[in-house]
Amino acid sequence: MKKSNLTIAVLSGKGGTGKTLLSVNLAAAAETAVYLDCDVEEPNGHLFFQPEITSEETVSAKIPLIDYNRCNGCRTCVDFCKFNALAFIKNKPVLFKDVCHSCGGCVLLCPQKAISEEEKNVGVIQSGMSGQVRVHTGCLNAGEASGIPIIKELLKKSAAETALPVFIDCPPGSACSVMESVKDADYCVLVAEPTVFGVHNLKMVCDLVEVFHKPHGVVLNKCLEEENPAEEFCKEQHVTILGRIPFDSKLGSISSSAKIAVKENNRYRELFSKLLHTIIEEASRETATHPQR
């Protein structure tokens, strides 16, 4: 299917820089858009959008199901499991569902073919509308090891969308869940705050998006009048600066109450619309010269 839309991933490295603030307000400024919350451990976008939920789907992963009648206590499965999800007690394997990484190894290797598979719920995806923005929120269940299966399901929604812009709110950091979230993105927006702490983490996400050959640019958030180490970094490393959001206690206050700034007043609507326009222009140019599809 030919896509005419763009998928924009918003990430930051350091927590609290304004990733959700930006992705929520960009989607709101676009008016008709898709917003995916891939921060499945602590999804916050829905607090801003307050979407009317129209569907909820459970996401599951496969776990082993042991037939104890066939099991002869050889311990092959227990000794193979790299994740310590199987213990051997009173001559039988005992499964710890929360620790299982669903690799399927025990099923394959059981000499008695005593292990089959069943599904376990790892989380949910709630979908709904907030105005003309379609909101999909991924939520990981208590005790689960990995949010990656949920992120994979969320990304299917962006793959299916060919017309509207898609905004992906990524998890903080640069661990495997972040990598999964950016895999299908056309363009990455990195949010940076003007502190040396922020720059240190900005470097890591820059490395990450470069590993995946993703065109990217930086939005400098909470800008003060002083020297901005994040801006220095971008200039030194020739990273595109997409725009600046000045430090603004009113904006901070609005966002702390989980309100969408774009909806609160025209000044913010203009600010984020301009940013959106710049990002779309930049992203379109980059993807035209470096097509990935």
Binding site: G13, K14, G15, G16, T17, T20, E41, E42, N44, L47, K62, F80, K82, F83, H101, S102, C103, G104, G105, L108, L109, S146, P172, G173, S174, A175, C176, M179, E193, P194, T195, V196, F197, H200, N201, M204, D207, L208, V211, L224, E226, E227, P229, F247, S249, G252, S253, S255, S256, S257, A258
Partner: protein, 286 residues
């Protein structure tokens, strides 16, 4: 010896800023940065000595020996993590590989071996006055309690004599790295911020601390950004009988301090003054 752990729940509330200030004020002889995914404490705590470094090994990663590989594709077929692809021969993507060992087990010609993989680096800084243990996880690695435990262990095994207080800068979230950092601490100080997201995450971290029976106290940073919510935090703490040890105003001078590699108590500024009171109160409880 007492151990004070600083946590936040939500990222960006000012945990490391507060931790740095408390370390300076208390002259703690031992401190550690357990935010191994994005460590920042070293940027405020100038060190004179070179770090003692060692590699940290995470889950082993699979490697396919192209010379032995017969191209049967069994590995790709059985990999549940989409970590194996065949473009010019079968190759494992180390970022997606979770080290499960299935490909190694199913390969009919033993072309695949699991190799130890460096997932990060540990650093220990020693001076006449203190020891500082920190680490950096490599990108794409799964965060786990293991590295956090190693960072703490390193600090504890390198203690100088007569160390009365150790301060640990924890990581955001409520998962594995946080729980690992809680083991053995005398008290947790939660740095929260007056936002809906911040309060929500504060509640989750409080619940986790409860399970561990660790005494907890709370302070609110950037408190004047939303005074209504700051009041909500205070009321919540009162209800739950959790000591509320103070507030810190939003302070641009804090940014100046941090950006010059200092802590907020190295300058005379509102946030520095506020954190001194929090320090006094926290030490009293400890």
């Amino acid at each position: 010896m007492k151990q004070l752990l600083i946590l936040s729940g939500k990222g960006g509330t000012g945990k490391t800023t507060v931790a740095g200030a408390l370390i300076k004020l208390s002259q703690a002889r031992a401190y550690a940065d357990c935010d191994v995914d994005a460590p920042n404490l070293h940027l405020s705590m100038a060190q004179t000595a070179e770090a003692e470094r060692n590699d940290y090994y995470g889950m082993p990663k699979a490697r396919i020996d192209a010379e032995i590989c017969i191209g049967c594709g069994q590995c790709e077929e059985h990999c549940r993590f989409d970590a194996i692809s065949n473009e010019n021969g079968y190759l494992v993507d180390p970022f997606s590989c979770e080290g499960c060992g299935v490909c190694e087990a199913v390969c009919p010609v033993n072309a695949i071996q699991m190799h130890p993989s460096v997932a990060g680096e540990q650093m220990l800084y020693r001076s006449a006055h203190s020891v500082f243990s920190t680490a950096q996880l490599r990108m794409g690695s799964g965060t786990s309690g293991k590295l956090v435990t190693e960072v703490k262990k390193r600090m504890l095994s390198s203690l100088l004599q007569e160390t009365e207080l150790a301060i640990i800068d924890g990581s955001p979230g409520i998962g594995c790295p946080v729980i690992a950092s809680m083991s053995g601490v005398s008290m947790v100080l939660i740095v929260t911020e007056p936002s809906i997201s911040g309060i929500s995450d504060m509640e989750r971290i409080l619940h986790t601390a409860e399970i561990f029976h660790t005494p907890t106290c709370v302070c609110a940073n950037k408190a004047d950004v939303n005074s209504e919510l700051t009041e909500k935090i205070k009321r919540f703490c009162e209800e739950k009988q959790i000591p509320f040890v103070g507030t810190i105003p939003y302070d641009p001078a804090a940014v100046t301090a941090i950006n010059s590699g200092k802590t907020i108590v190295d300058l005379d500024c509102p946030s520095g003054r506020a954190v001194r009171e929090i320090f006094a109160e926290t030490m009293r409880l400890l």
